[in-house]
């Protein structure tokens, strides 16, 4: 039995040490965020954050994750709130909101990885240029070709986050996101 910390909760899992985290998340724990796309670290479908860094769960054995904080799409709001010092956890993050507002979606299957990666990007760089967005997101594929709209959604989310930070500087960030 291995103990993992997933979305702030410590969980004992049955799977053997060599099991890639993806199968623990999607099969044993039945989370719907991280999902199989290639199993080869090529597409970004299975992405999660490990100590805040985007990681491919399909090739990461759980043995290597014992003392790490794992965040999945299910925990992304809480993670975002903690990183930006929000007083309460919003229902959705600015990245998720912007994707919906821009109608930046077709089948949406790639969205787990897109949201995880874009969140990582915006927490490190609140105002990325077009080139920085493309380069950060380049390891995430979308077969439906929604790239242009995802780029505009990330820009929109970045403006929301900057505004939130500004008003947090003024007083409190509550209610902004």
């Amino acid at each position: 039995m291995t103990s993992l910390t997933i979305n702030g909760v410590s969980i004992e899992v049955q799977a053997g040490d060599d099991t890639p985290l993806l199968y623990v998340l999607s099969d044993e724990l039945q989370l719907q965020g991280p999902r199989f796309g290639c199993g080869l670290a090529q597409c970004g479908s299975c992405s999660i954050l490990v100590d805040g860094v985007e990681t491919r769960a399909c090739v990461t054995p759980i043995a290597s994750l014992k003392d790490k904080a794992i965040t999945t799409l299910e925990g992304i709001s809480a993670f975002y709130a903690a990183q930006t010092g929000l007083a309460s956890v919003p229902q959705t993050t600015p990245v998720q909101d912007a994707l919906v507002e821009e109608q930046a979606l077709q089948c949406g299957y790639c969205y787990n990885g897109m949201i995880i990666k874009a969140t990582e990007l915006l927490l490190n760089n609140a105002d990325p240029s077009d080139a920085e967005i493309r380069s950060a997101m380049n390891g995430h594929l979308c077969r439906c070709g929604t790239y242009p709209k995802i780029i505009s959604a990330i820009k929109k989310a970045s403006r929301t986050i900057q505004l939130a930070r500004q008003s947090a500087g003024d007083s409190s960030m509550e209610g902004v996101v």
């Binding site: 039945q30 999902r35 199993g39 479908s45 077709q106 089948c107 299957y109 790639c110 380069s135 709209k149």
Partner: protein, 740 residues
């Protein structure tokens, strides 16, 4: 048929009792279906209004839609059509998932059929339901039906506000019992409130939160995980898979893992998914691989030299006019096999018992899949129930039937429900690919630049009929579909937009059994057709010293075609000049190109701006402008997304995508060996909708790709003065062309 009629109302009633409560977006089926034994097989009678629409007590409506949601947003758009005719708000309408026991058989979801076929059907059913409701209201309120108005399902008298009732009050939880005649008048487009607006898709919020259940998330109690075991990469279709030995001991280290074999069909099951994945990789199987493929290098030679079946698709006038025409262009070019490769490999969950089978999968045509599964399991079709759950965007016939069959076979052998997902190499390696193509054309024009003659010969094979799971398990020999014209050269894309007095189109059907499996891939083979045809058209303009937009304009009189051509050119701020006028010695050069084309309906026009690095051979698509005329566009935001997706995919297919194979098997088995376009390579995209409020919807899922492919090819000529004769434009191919 009798049985169906008596059985369906039962289910209707239980749905109606649920009111709107159970029906949350289209996740309804995922929450509530098991094997409901009281329910007999569909399809419900399409001639009954109750098969299409149910009104609930709370004034909401369930619309039974027979089309698959493939990520194109058709369920939202079809609900818009229904809500419009019923005068309901979008929050009052919902639909449920496709199910052979419940939803009508509207045929498969392909060739952009959802809006083209489904739109008018749903519209007429909704109009007829509304008419019946108004008549009931008139009787109840004792007024004339035409003095009534409806808003959000509340019916009131235009003369006396106090006189009112509602849909829910009139019929909620009861049936119409009304024949669907299609005779009720539909709304005039001038009165549209919802149709033609960018109503947000109903699935987005759930998908962004990660709580939407795709087929890959579906689980059944007591379910095993399964994987198929096949050679890495298919060989020739006729060879299928020949197992020569299996060492079952090779997986004993995995507790509970089992081999399931039926003839040459091999699968493994295990309790956990990772154990199934490991077992499939660890199982030692030997195969006979006859090596009867041509390999990429000899593909076109075999296609052209082998025996073919000829069909004249179009013969008008006399194309010998070519011989004496003022300007003449002869051009031959090739298109590769390309793969569907949905972002997530296909998946299915099956629960097969002695007398019944439930199969949940992403089939684009559940009724067809039901027949094939029944056949495979030796059951009557009524014993098989197929439910659609969407997966990742599939763009045609990817492995959804194959995986559904595999799950059904494995569940019947295991005696338990089994979930099968293909691995990445299964999906890439065992796809039914978009077929390769050879096109040869001769086109001529007079000295005024009017087209005189058009000839085209095309070589390709048809779609594969038998799935590999069936082929291996039952020994069913490989077979192609009968020669439907839709699987052959396409007269609409091949010169159909131009006014040409003399035209001759000849299809060479290449018998497909010695090749890879094939099937329709978004805008099937049209990219190859327009790659050949529109380059030759462009060449004539060049020979005549004419601007390629003007040359096309003066040869097109049909207003839809002119509309998309002009819309794309105007959006791109096209300045008139002949192509390849600004050739330079710089190593990085730019060009622009234009093209028109489509699939079976609708109209597409496109402009491309590209950059070519002559030294490295690298091509970048900088900007694509794509215009679609799809008649009435119900949801403009959906269609805009469709155009964006088509243009990005076209750039991907023209620059990067090619199935590779040697004599024994396919070798492009993942995203490294079969790359697709990435963020950094993605062009700027300008989608343009030519809206026709007074025309019927004609489909917008694939109709601008042929035009965009041609525009990219013509932009290459504009930049370099050379014509590419094969895509994708890989650096090696580009360097070769530039050196030649």
């Amino acid at each position: 048929m009798k049985k169906i009629l008596t059985s369906v109302p039962l289910k209707r009633r239980s749905l109606l009792k649920a009111g709107g409560a159970l029906i949350i977006n289209f996740n309804f089926q995922k929450a509530s279906f098991g094997q409901n034994q009281s329910l007999l097989a569909g399809p419900p009678d399409p001639e009954q209004i109750d098969s299409w629409i149910a009104i609930h007590q709370d004034n909401s409506a369930t619309v039974f839609i027979g089309f698959a949601e493939l990520g194109q947003g058709c369920s939202t758009a079809l609900l818009q059509v229904a809500a419009e005719e019923l005068d309901l708000s979008m929050t009052q309408v919902s639909t449920i998932g496709l199910d052979t026991h419940i939803t009508p058989n509207q045929g498969g979801t392909y060739s952009s059929s959802a809006m083209r076929v489904g739109g008018p059907q749903i519209q007429r059913a909704a109009a007829e339901a509304r008419q019946a409701l108004l008549q009931m209201a008139a009787t109840q309120l004792q007024v004339e039906a035409d003095s009534l108005q409806v808003e959000n399902g509340i019916i009131s008298s235009t003369r006396n506000n106090a006189l009112s009732t509602s849909y829910g009050e009139l019929i909620g939880n009861r049936q119409f019992n009304l024949a669907f005649t299609g005779n009720a008048p539909v709304k005039s487009p001038d009165d549209y409130k919802l149709v033609g607006t960018p109503y947000p898709r109903n699935d987005f919020p759930l998908k962004a939160k990660g709580i939407y259940r795709y087929i890959q998330h579906v689980r059944l109690p007591n379910m095993l995980h399964g994987r198929i075991v096949r050679p890495r990469g298919q060989g020739a279709y006729k060879d299928g898979v020949q197992v020569t030995g299996i060492n079952e001991d090779s997986i004993v280290s995995i507790p509970g893992a089992r081999v399931l074999r039926q003839n040459n069909f091999v699968g493994v099951v295990a309790q956990t998914e990772w154990d199934a994945v490991k077992a499939a990789q660890q199982l030692e199987v030997s195969w006979e691989q006859p090596g009867s493929l041509p390999g990429n290098e000899s593909l076109f030679e075999r296609m052209e030299k082998g025996m073919t079946n000829e069909r004249v698709a179009v013969e008008e006038g006399d194309v010998s006019a070519f011989n004496t025409a003022f300007a003449r262009s002869e051009f031959k070019a090739h298109g590769p096999y390309q793969a569907h490769v949905p972002f997530a490999p296909n998946c299915a969950v099956a629960d097969v018992s002695q007398n019944s089978a439930l199969v949940m999968c992403s089939s684009q045509d559940i009724y067809n899949t039901r027949t094939s599964i029944a056949n495979l399991l030796g059951m009557d079709t009524e014993q098989v129930r197929v439910q659609f759950h969407d997966g990742a965007g599939t763009f045609g016939h990817s492995c959804w039937d194959d995986v559904a069959q595999a799950a059904a076979l494995m569940s019947s052998m295991a005696g338990q429900p089994v979930r099968v997902q293909f691995m990445r190499w299964d999906e890439h390696g065992w796809d039914t690919y978009g077929p390769a193509h050879i096109g040869k054309t001769r086109i001529s024009a007079d000295s005024n630049g009017k087209l005189v003659s058009y000839e085209y010969e095309g070589w390709q094979h048809h779609w594969s009929l038998i799935e590999t799971s069936e082929q291996t398990a039952k020994g069913t020999p490989a077979a192609e579909w009968p020669p439907f014209p839709a699987q052959q050269i396409n007269p609409r894309t091949l010169g159909g937009m131009y006014d040409i007095p003399n035209r001759y189109l000849l299809n060479h059907h290449v018998p497909g059994l010695d090749y890879l499996k094939g099937a329709w891939l978004r805008s099937p083979v049209d990219l190859s057709f327009s790659f050949v045809s529109e380059q030759a058209i462009d060449d004539l303009a060049f020979q005549l010293g004419m601007d390629p937009w003007q040359f096309r304009q003066q040869n097109i009189s049909e207003y839809h075609w002119l509309g998309v051509l002009n819309a794309a050119a105007e959006a791109a701020n096209w300045q008139s000049r002949p192509a390849a006028e600004n050739l330079s010695n710089a190593s990085i050069v730019r060009g622009r190109g234009i093209g028109v084309g489509t699939h079976l309906a609708s109209y597409g026009g496109a402009v491309a701006e590209i950059e070519v690095n002559k030294r490295s051979g690298e091509v970048k698509v900088l900007h694509l402008y794509g215009a679609i005329d799809a008649g009435l566009v119900v949801n403009t935001s959906n269609v805009e997304n469709q155009i964006i997706g088509q243009l990005v995919q076209t750039a991907s297919r023209m620059l990067l995508e090619e199935v590779t194979f040697n004599k024994t098997n396919v070798t492009s088995l993942d995203w490294a060996s079969y790359p697709i376009l990435r963020f950094e390579q993605c062009p700027e995209i300008t989608p343009i909708i030519v809206q026709r409020l007074n025309e019927a919807p004609s489909g917008a899922g694939e109709e601008v790709m042929a035009a965009a492919a041609a525009a990219i090819a013509n932009a290459f000529f504009d930049a370099t003065g050379k014509r590419m004769t094969m895509y994708p434009f890989t650096p090696e191919r580009v360097r070769e062309t530039l050196a030649g």
